[in-house]
């Protein structure tokens, strides 16, 4: 029997699209013939804004891109600028950055877990996930005073000294989290509805995953062993002992198990970082480039003059271009900074993992059912702020 296909629009305002994403679907009955994502509803022009600001002042713009893992964006930008200027940071800064970056990864995976489960019908998961997230936000607030957009990592070090009760707060979190993870597993892992909705859905093979330039849990779920923390270590990751989780089938259920395992490995790294945190200054000493600590400004003349000059004029970067990639919870987040010798960057390019992972949505979804589109969007783990920038 011949028929025509039906065009459906999953519009920009939808309860389950994690933001303002629009998908144009062409369906034949319940089966999808063609799917085309339309994005750009949150485009903010961040890259162009960063070109008109000094290197220091462009830092808070990076927080607002992937707003579920803000410290990871800060880390990538700071590492890229430090590579461009050739600054070497003290050991304590590296270990503190690793610890907070892994806390950020857990925070982002918790929000993913809550929203993915509520899309598939398990409505109580989101309340538990946000309860744990509040504990991590308490740690952020103790460090810098802000709940989400901290801009705690600065060029050359950290914004302030680590708070004196950070040890107590992080150990309380480390004690509580493994039991909660067992609770989450009891809710979802062997739940027959959850398994049936995610097993065999949104499958992608390893060769296709490499061809579509996927990264992060999407790539590791298909069995490709690629993690920037092991392949191109940055900020002292080579001193830590952890494993990389790999999936077998490349479907949504494997990626769910993989992300839970990533949370466990992050807890291991945080414990190692807390036990072995070295003493030392919290900023590098590079006069003319890195802001001097506030105590020095009140007593020494040179610090006052350098502080004034850095804030008003900035520093001149050498001519050239660098690229620094970090392993964000969504994939490979890269910063490409091209400098023309002045105090403002000529081009800041952010390699957005969610944008490139979302491009493969047609390959994941075509030939499947309409209800699987929701599961596919959830398992790709997109953040529209990063897709549209």
């Amino acid at each position: 029997m011949e028929g025509r296909t039906l065009h459906i629009n999953m519009g920009p305002q939808h309860p389950a699209t994690h933001g303002v994403l629009r998908i144009e679907l062409e369906v034949d009955g319940e089966t999808i013939v063609k799917a085309r994502p339309v994005i750009g509803y949150l485009h903010t022009g961040i890259e162009k804004t960063m070109e008109s600001k000094l290197y220091y002042k462009a830092l808070p713009c990076t927080d607002r891109m992937d707003y579920l893992a803000p410290m990871m964006n800060n880390l990538g930008y700071c590492l890229a600028v430090e590579k461009l200027m050739g600054i070497e940071v003290p050991e304590k800064v590296k270990w503190a950055r690793v610890m907070l970056a892994e806390l950020t990864r857990i925070k982002s995976h918790l929000v993913w877990l809550g929203t993915h489960a509520i899309d598939l019908g398990a409505m109580s998961m989101i309340v538990y996930a946000f309860r744990e997230r509040e504990m991590i936000i308490d740690i952020y607030e103790a460090c810098d005073g802000q709940r989400m957009m901290t801009s705690y990592f600065r060029i050359g070090g950290l914004a302030n000294e680590l708070p004196p009760d950070i040890d107590k707060l992080v150990r309380k979190f480390l004690k509580v989290m493994p039991e909660r993870l067992i609770d989450y597993e009891k809710l979802l892992t062997h739940n027959p509805i959850f398994v049936q909705r995610t097993r065999g859905v949104a499958v992608i093979s390893p060769e296709n995953a490499i061809n579509w330039s996927l990264s992060g849990p999407m790539l590791r779920g298909s069995g490709v062993k690629r993690d920037l923390r092991k392949d191109e270590p940055y900020s002292g990751y080579e001193n830590f002992d952890f494993e990389i989780a790999l999936g077998k089938n490349g479907d949504a259920y494997d990626r769910y198990l993989l992300r839970l395992e990533e949370i466990r490995q992050s807890l291991r790294i945080i414990e190692q970082a807390l036990n072995g945190m070295p003493e030392g200054p919290y900023r590098a000493h590079v006069p003319g480039v890195v802001l001097p600590p506030k105590e020095d400004i009140l007593h020494k003349m040179e610090s006052l003059i350098f502080h004034f000059k850095i804030i008003t004029e900035g520093f001149k970067a050498p001519r050239g271009a660098v690229y620094q990639g970090v392993e964000s919870p969504k994939g490979e987040l890269g910063f490409y900074i091209a400098s023309d010798g002045t105090n403002k960057p000529n081009r800041v390019r952010v390699r957005p993992p969610s944008f490139i992972n979302l491009a493969s949505l047609p390959a994941l979804v075509e030939g499947g059912l309409v209800a699987d589109v929701i599961c596919a969007i959830g398992t790709v783990d997109i953040v529209l702020g990063e897709v549209d920038r």
Binding site: G40, R349, I356
Partner: protein, 171 residues
């Protein structure tokens, strides 16, 4: 690994290389625009080098610095080898009047959206792309925002002294 790549490029494509650079440990080759697809295909198929992962395609506008860089537009291809764990960059300079280059979508599916974004934001045309349309900016915005001659469109906020005649757009 840097030596291996340099020798491989010099052996096969010596006439297409304009210059080679190494800044802060990252190797990049400036090549001619007509040799791009050939070089990428050879890099992908070579079993020893195995550059099968295209990490990023991006562009840069060097208005005002054409003498040092060669031309106005620069397109940068970020390639990574999974087995050798090595990353390097291929860069192409394009003229200001007619910035066009061949598309890499036959080789990599992931290049589709990356090239659409470069077209939308910088105005560089990719010949052979299946669907080169706007992806990020609204449909009624004319021009390419990331070019240096497109203004930032910064609005001065309204205060009591300029409330009756607010200046709309500067810069």
């Amino acid at each position: 690994m840097e030596e291996t790549v340099r020798n491989w490029m010099q052996d096969r494509f010596a006439e297409s290389i304009v210059r080679e650079e190494n800044f802060r440990g990252q190797q990049s080759f400036y090549i001619q625009s007509n040799a791009l697809v050939e070089i990428c295909q050879a890099l992908m198929e070579d079993p020893d080098l195995d550059f099968r992962y295209l990490a990023d395609i991006t562009s840069c506008d060097w208005l005002g610095h054409e003498k040092e860089m060669g031309d106005r537009f620069e397109v940068i291809y970020n390639l990574y080898s999974l087995s050798r764990k090595y990353r390097f960059f291929l860069k192409v300079m394009l003229p200001a009047e007619k910035p066009e280059i061949a598309s890499l979508t036959p080789l990599w599916n992931g290049a589709n959206w990356m090239e659409r974004e470069v077209w939308d934001m910088m105005g560089i045309r990719f010949t052979g792309h299946p669907d080169l349309t706007k992806i990020l900016t609204p449909d009624d915005l004319e021009g390419h925002p990331l070019r240096k001659d497109f203004p930032l469109t910064y609005e001065i906020p309204q205060f009591t002294w300029n409330k009756d005649n607010p200046p709309e757009v500067i810069r």
